[in-house]
Symmetry: C2
């Protein structure tokens, strides 16, 4: 073992920039692994994979040249500098030049903004490459050419990514980054139910506090009630964690009766035993749906947009706390206390954001909300215009007590504290408000 060998694993060596092996980040190799889906190849493609990812994209002409344009356009728009150039290209097949894009510095970035520098197809290609040896397929669905198919599949939002698993359709509504998507898909191909069979695993189960989790005690894998539980789990995978045990000792430790399922809200010590055991799949699904919005929840990259859109009356109560930082940890503990005291209030759902989970958004949030994210913060955000008010926390060595937080939250829920009273700083607010009020997406006036 003392002698080190130099057998070169060719491909790794080539694709690596390092002297040492074992840490090669994938870069897209250019192979096209994403086929276009049509009603013709649909069935055949579908049965080839356990999991099928469909990217529902804006209409693109089918001829090769325009497809290249589509790809290149995305790339160019991802890298705005080039848009200051006139780009031409030609192919071996095809003589003469074709103008690809005519953006110039004078184009004031409108086209750019419209596209938002989108290069999702490239991210999907990379993900497809990374997951090549898993049974996951990747296809494109053209919004115009495959309108009928899209309708049949229930696709509505162009630029969305949908995943078909069995007869279930899951929309990926998270951060469109390769690593987030890969993790999401890997979670989806795992078993929907995790089995707990030892003391240490119980400990692990108890440490999971920032997810909704359920655990059931069943006779065995063959129990019809376990099967119903497993079926129910698939409805919520990977967002909600389902656990089961067949071990009397474990069940005792968690005070679970045979065929009973306990529901744990995030950050709560005590579970709710789901009433009227044993349950059918439908009963379980219904119960979870009813209790799906917790009093305190963590914002996660893999479902961030879905969560953000699940606002209450057009607002979110947002708390920023960096768990790995002592002040942030302390603030989070206080938040949990508040959540536990108010778990029965259906109008309260505090959104906890750990800035460490969203490094690229920290500066944006600081600018948008005019706050310092190096310290804990709690505020109300109007999701329509990102207007916000934040609690005064004069010193992070003197954080508000649970009581002070509860009073503040009461004032928010009663409307005494709201995002409109501080509007001297964005003056045109009140005017534009009058005119535009009617075309507000989630206008909650009554």
């Amino acid at each position: 073992m003392k002698r080190t060998h130099l057998f070169i694993v060719g491909i790794y060596f080539l694709s690596s920039c390092r002297a040492e092996e074992g840490l090669n980040f994938p870069t897209y190799d250019g192979k096209d692994r994403v086929v276009s889906l049509s009603e013709k190849n649909f069935k055949q493609v579908l049965k080839k994979y356990d999991l099928l990812c469909l990217y529902y994209h804006e209409p693109v002409s089918s001829d090769k040249v325009t497809q290249k344009q589509f790809q290149l356009k995305e790339i160019v728009l991802e890298h705005w500098q080039i848009s200051q150039w006139w780009l031409h290209f030609q192919t071996p097949r095809e003589e003469g030049k074709m103008k690809l894009l005519e953006l110039s510095e004078s184009a004031d970035g409108a086209a750019w903004k419209r596209w938002g520098g989108n290069s999702n197809t490239h991210r999907i290609q990379l993900v497809a490459q990374v997951l090549e040896h898993k049974a996951i397929g990747f296809v494109m669905v053209d919004a115009k050419k495959e309108a009928k198919l899209a309708k049949k599949l229930g696709f509505d939002e162009e630029g969305s990514l949908y995943i078909l698993k069995g007869d279930r359709t899951i929309e990926f509504d998270g951060e469109f980054a390769a690593d987030v998507l890969v993790e999401f898909l890997l979670d989806l191909i795992e078993d929907p139910v995790e089995i707990i069979s030892s003391k240490l695993e119980v400990q692990a189960f108890e440490r999971i506090e920032d997810y909704i989790k359920l655990i059931g005690f069943f006779k065995s894998e063959d129990s019809e009630y376990y099967k119903a539980f497993e079926e129910a789990a698939e409805h919520f995978q990977p967002y909600i964690k389902f656990f089961a045990t067949f071990d009397k000792g474990v069940a005792k430790k968690l005070s679970l009766k045979m065929n009973e399922v306990d529901f744990y809200e995030p950050f709560m010590d005590e579970p709710i035993a789901i009433p009227n055991k044993p349950y059918t799949e439908e009963e379980l699904v219904e119960f979870v749906k009813e209790h799906q919005r917790p009093t305190l929840r963590r914002l996660r990259p893999e479902e961030m947009f879905e969560t953000w859109e699940d606002d209450l009356n057009g607002i979110h109560i947002v708390a920023f706390a960096e768990k790995s930082d002592p002040d942030g940890y302390e603030f989070l503990e206080i938040l949990k206390q508040v959540a536990r005291d108010n778990t029965d209030n259906p109008d309260l759902s505090i959104l906890w954001i750990d800035p460490d989970d969203f490094p690229l958004l920290v500066a944006y949030w600081e600018k948008t909300f005019k706050i310092d994210l190096f310290r804990p913060q709690i505020g109300v955000v109007n999701v329509t215009d990102a207007d916000s008010v934040w609690m005064e926390i004069p010193d992070d060595d003197d954080l508000p007590t649970a009581e002070e937080l509860e009073d503040w939250i009461e004032d928010v829920l009663s409307g005494k504290i709201n995002t409109e009273d501080d509007d001297e700083d964005d003056d045109d607010d009140d005017n534009s408000d009058e005119e535009d009020n009617d075309d507000s997406d989630d206008d909650d006036d009554e």
Copy 2:
């Protein structure tokens, strides 16, 4: 508060693809925020910022056209498809076409591999944009044109990113992704020492187990000994965490004497009190450097390459365990036990990798090491050729005990288990070994 307003924050609306506000991921806006550093502007640029990031890149001609070529080349290489095309471009300033790149499918990807799809300058541009309102500067250092400056700054590896903070030079040796880099830089502008002042903060401190951490008890911020501690902290920021308290209660809880500093190895319950208090900055730095390689350490994106290169005799003992998964959690607990029992063995440093931290590498590791990362794994990896042997774990409901793990590790350290005995599967190993042995980077024969 019940009335939702529709005041549109123009820019956010434009750059957003969502109906709702508050979650806009930045996309590079194309503004060039990264200046080229020269000996002329060096001093002036340096004093403008608290933190200066320098990207030490391959030589590029200074004329605008070639710079564009450089940028465009990176982009093209990032998106291999286009390399199947012949790309031409022209500028208003400049008549006629210029061939940019002549890669074709037949070019068998050599140029592509050589570049590794590098587009670091774009990542840096995005990071510079995201951190625009922080006092962080971003510059390019041309390896050829600024050879003298680079030498003076001690830059050696082209394509590396260096950060100047005060009189300290830090090489960023982590995953070259925008989010990882942003978080790294944000950590660097925080205070080097975190003050612990309450019970809950002590709890937070105690929960940090996967970093090397130090905590000292001092009279006040003005104490010369605290100042020495703070100076020492800056040498290791952000990799090693430094804490201090001025509170008798906290000190008592951590059984710290005045001016004493305790050193915590990752995953160890008991700290080592650094001998001979009070200490000078140098004494602290020296002690940390001596104890810098722990018995069990976690691989982190922000320092992954540095860690990987810190092998023992050309190998790493690598353990894969997903902490959020019950089996993974259980395995990690067993690993901690082993580490605690063997903390005095200088030849032992187990590298724990949580697959959740590296979604893009999971499939690559599974292929390279021929293992299933949905379950815990431990093995020996030869860092020169990524050749590896893995412990037999027949069933993840029946993980090895601490004792079994220790026996296995002993066999590894004694060479009884090594990466060369299983080499039937890569046959040409032994031949290539003979010829190539001499030009091995880290050949440890003696």
